[in-house]
Structures are given as C-alpha cells and as structure tokens.
Amino acid sequence: MSSPCLSIKNMTMAYGNFIIQRDLDFTINRGDIFVIMGASGCGKSTLLMHLIGLHRPMSGDVFYGEESLWQADYKTRQRLLRQTGVLFQSGALLSSMTLAENVALPLTEHTRLGAQRIRQLVSYKLALVGLAGFEDYYPAELSGGMQKRAGLARAMALDPKILFFDEPSAGLDPVSAKLLDDLIRSLRDHLGATIVIVTHELASIFAIGTYSVFLDMETKTMIASGPPKQLLAESRDPKVLRFLTRGASESSNISAIKRQGHEIL
C-alpha cells in the first residue's frame, strides 16, 4: 500500500527573489489522505501550485512515481498531469457553462467517447457528489457548497489517480464540511485514489488526514511531518502544538495543552 505516488525532492519555491519555502522534502504514498497544513500565508497554496504544474520551482523537483515533473518536456508534463484532478478553493467552475458542460469539458477534450456516453458519465459524476438532476444549472444558481461539490465532480471527470483539494471546507458550514470530508474519504476508499489536501481546518485534519506536513512561515520550511494525531500527541515543537490546539499552548504546561487538544476533538 505504501508505494510512493508523489515525491517532493529538495524543492525551493519563490516568487521572483522572495523565497516562500525552502528545502521541502517529503513523499506522498498511494492511498494517503495527505494534509498540507500551516498558518495562513505560509505557502500552502503555493506548494499546491507547484505540485499541479502551474508554478515552476526555483530549485528541486516533483516526481510523479519515478517521473520528474519539471525536468520533463511539455508533452510529458501534460501526460503526467492528466492523472490528476484539482478542486480549487471556490470551485472555479466556468460560469458561462452549465454544470453538465463543466464536467463534460475534460471528457470531450481528452477522450473519444460519444455524446450519449459522456452524458451518462456526467450524470454519474454529479450523482456521486450528491448533485443528481442539477445538470442544466449554471454555477451562479447554486450555493457555495454545491459549487464546491460540482467542482469536485469536474475534478473527478477523468478518473484521476491523484486528487488535489485547496481548502475544501473553507466557507462551508460544519455539517456540509463534515459531509465533504466523508465524501473525500469514501472516494479514496472506493476509487483507490490518492488525496492531497491543503487546509487549516483542524476538524478535517484530524478526521481524515492519514499523513501531514506542517509548513512554517518564519523558518520558511517544513518543521514537522507525520500522521496528524501522532503530531498532536508527540510533537514538542511549540509552533506545531499551538496550531494543532488552536493557540491553547500559550500556557506553558504541555500536558494540559494536549488534554485541551483532545477535548477539541
């Protein structure tokens, strides 16, 4: 089960000369629900941009299995990225198209399926995310949570092996966020996909994360990695603990903090 699916080797990310994060080095295994966490502005979303081929790293590389993403030529990169699906923070549905057209877009572009079959696939994907019957709606006519689920249906259109989520529960009420978490987990279980989530939502992190890295803004690198619950139980780094306990570790007694942390859960 633990074969590497995505490895980040010695990567440094920067905008111009401004370094966001340096020396990132970690591996995402097949079947993981991998959480990238950290405070707002620490470069979580930027890291995601680097993983999905939208932003070139200053140095270092990303490997899909054995294949390098950034050494590869354009065509190879497109082929590697074909096996990924991305759900952006606000869904990023094309507003001039209906949900059905949005989900059908990658299918018509990258497969040779007939119109009838594509329609069936679209209905199936929308039903999977609980939007059966909403084929002919425009994104603007839906609530934020529904837009996000429709974005997920589009991300899954080509049956990707790796699904990326940028802040999936941002802007959702707790119940919807919980439902989305459940959906993500059952998709992982049934599709056998690998999930990479960028989030700072503690409830989600502990509920579904199987492994995680913590990016720190001041030292500009990752300062902890491991299963989230284990980090909470064993980490000695005050920054990580403060994050995982919602700042409760301002008091000095570490064991008290951990107790509080478990109460939150």
């Binding site: 001039s96 209905s123 994907k125 609980g130 049956d159 998709l187 049934h190």
Partner: protein, 379 residues
C-alpha cells in the same frame, strides 16, 4: 510500461429465476466495450426472472465507464421488477453505487426544456426593451441627483479617484487619438483632393479638412475611440466590483455607489472629452497638411493660413460641445452597464460588450440629432 487492455465482455446466463451477469475484461474510458442494449434485449419481458446477480471473477481494471453501464443495467432491471443483488459486486463498486444513491434526486429539480412559441419570444424582447428603458431612466435620475449633490458640495467621493480617472482617460489616450485623427485628416484630404484638383482648387482641401475635422470628424472619432477604450473599461471595472461584492461593501459602509464610483468617472470624461476633441482637430489638420503639402503645390504656410480663415470660433465650439455630450453618453452607458452587471465572469463580458454597443448607438443618434438641429438653426 502501458498494459494492454484485455477485451471487455458482458454476457447473461439464465438459470430458472436467476439471471447471472458475467462481466470480464478491462472496462476503461479508452477501451472498446460491448453494446449494453443487445444484452438488455435478452431480458425479454423479464417476467420469468426474480433476481439478478453478478459474476465478476474475471473482471480486470475498471473505472467510471463500468459504473455508468452498471447503473444503466440496474435501473433497467429494477424497472422490470427484478431485484438486484449488488452484494455480488466488488466492494469498491458497491461503495460507489451506495454513494450515487445516497442523495436521491430531489423532485422538481431537473429542468425540462420548454419550446417557447415565437409570439412569446417577440413579446419577451418587447418587455426586455421596456425594462431596459426603465433602467436607463432610473439611472439617469440617480446620476442627476449625484451631480446636483456634487454642485452643492455634498457628494461623497475621493478626489484622488477623480484625478486618477482623468489621468486614465485623458493623457493615456493621447497616442491612439493622435494616430487615428492624423489618419482621418489624411483620408479627408485624399478624398477631397480627387474632386478639388479637377478645378485646380487644391488649396481648398484646407477648408474641407479644417471644417470636417472641427465640426464633425474630430469629435466623432474621439467619441468612438473613447467608447471602446474608456466606456468598456468602466463597464469592466464596475462589473468586476459587482461580481466581488465590492459595491455591496461600499453600500454597507454608507457610501452611495452612484456618487462614489459613477460620479468621478462621469465628471472625468466630461472634463477630458472637449480637450481631446481640440487635440484631435489639430491632429486632423496636420494630417491634411501632410497630404496637401507633399502631393500638391501648396506651401505649409499657405495651408495654415487658409485653415485659419476657414474655421470660425463657432465651428470649433459646435465640435467641442458635441464631444462633451458624447462624453456624457459614453460615461453613462459604460457605468450603467457596469452597475447592472450580474454576478459571474461571463456577465462582465456581456456588460462590456453592451456598454460599447450602447455607447456607439447613443453617440450616432445624438450626433445626427445635433447636426440636424444645427442645420435648422443655421449655426
């Protein structure tokens, strides 16, 4: 590295009341699959069967394609009254099937496409026109209130916005105005020269270009350029603000968007347009001079003298006044379409398009009216 796909197949085994569906091979999006309708046809009327089970020992790799076929098969069987035993499917497929049926379709959610009779289409477009005109009148009313508030010194907006708008639609527009006006003057001179040189009256090209530019073409071309440049920008700016809820935010902070956003834009354009018009007139006259001096035996000084004699203050004023009116119309259509914009990216595009179209229509209509009036009054 790529594994060859094994051919996929689906067959039916009938055992008394039991219908066994055997699925073999790889079922992937890029693979050839058998036609399910042929299989469904074997069901007959389906009354002799009670239960449907699956046999998937030889099923290879699968993805959404298999799922859609299974869903079709299961729906069909259930319609025939055959109970489907999904327990005989692999656990991944079972899980996905339960996810699909977890949120059943809500009644009345699906949209039926309705054929609208043509009479209704005509009626609807009439109603739309009416509501457009209503919106225009309301907008003009609100704008008038804001302008009167401005003159009473009670309008709330930032002066820095006004200056920035003036900078955007004034000096920044000079290069394009220079180019277009110079060429329009050039064209006028060429067109005129064909006729006038027949009579040896090349010097009168100066009259033609000078009057043509100052009364008509200078203002009109400036207006068309500014409508495409600034009118469209206004619509896009305000439309994007509408999409991002920025206009709502301003309103909750106690600003009147009409005063805060629209007024500085309208004022900037009214202030700048006459100046641009004078500049365009000058450029047009230079364009005409270039042609006349280089192709005919007219000296530059002669041409300028002739022009000064031909153009009266009144001609210039008429042109500048027209251009100020065009400025109001451009700002009006740009800001109105921007404020009316819906809440999606595509609607910003629609607003921009419609701002330019509305602007140019307004300009041409206003120009015709003013030309007729000037003609009747003998100005």
């Amino acid at each position: 590295m790529a594994v060859d796909n094994r051919p996929s197949n689906i067959t039916l085994n009938c055992k008394a009341h039991l219908l066994e569906v055997v699925i073999v091979g790889d079922w992937l999006l890029d693979s050839q699959i058998p036609d399910l309708d042929l299989v469904l046809a074997q069901f007959g009327d389906g009354t002799q069967f009670k239960q449907l089970v699956f046999s998937t020992e030889s099923l290879g790799r699968w993805d959404s394609l298999l799922m859609t076929e299974l869903i079709k098969l299961i729906t069909y069987s259930e319609e025939k009254g055959i109970s489907v035993d999904t327990k005989t499917l692999p656990s991944g497929i079972q899980g996905l099937l339960s996810l699909v049926s977890a949120v059943p379709e809500r009644a009345g959610v699906r949209r039926q496409s309705i054929d609208v009779p043509w009479l209704e289409v005509v009626g609807n477009s009439g109603l739309r026109l009416q509501s457009d005109v209503n919106a225009l009148i309301v907008f003009i009313g609100n704008l008038t209130l804001s302008v009167s508030a401005f003159f009473r010194g009670k309008a709330h907006f930032r002066w820095v916005d006004l200056w920035r708008n003036i900078q955007d639609c004034g000096p920044s527009a000079l290069p394009i105005i220079t180019l277009i006006s110079l060429l329009v003057g050039l064209i006028l001179a060429f067109v005129g020269s064909v006729q006038l040189s027949l009579f040896g009256a090349q010097l009168y090209i100066a009259d033609l270009v000078g009057l043509g530019m100052s009364r008509e073409m200078g203002g009109l071309m400036t207006a068309v350029i500014m409508s495409g440049r600034t009118g469209a920008a206004y619509a896009a700016q305000l439309g994007t603000m509408q999409v991002n809820n920025e206009i709502d935010a301003l309103e909750t902070m106690g600003f009147n968007p009409m005063e805060f956003l629209v007024l500085p834009r309208v004022l900037a354009l009214i202030f700048v347009m006459p100046l641009l018009c004078l500049y365009a007139d000058l450029m047009g006259i230079i364009g005409g001079a270039l042609v006349t001096v280089s192709f005919f035996e007219v000296s530059f000084v002669e041409y300028i003298n002739r022009t000064i004699n031909a153009i009266h203050m009144l001609d210039l004023s008429v042109g500048v006044f027209k251009c100020a009116v065009f400025g109001v119309l451009i700002a009006l259509s740009g800001c109105m379409r921007g404020m009316q914009c819906g809440r999606s990216a595509s609607e910003v595009g629609d607003a921009t398009t419609s701002a330019v179209v509305t602007g140019i229509v307004f300009i041409v209509i206003a120009d015709s009216l003013m030309t007729i009036i000037c003609n009747r009054l003998g100005i």
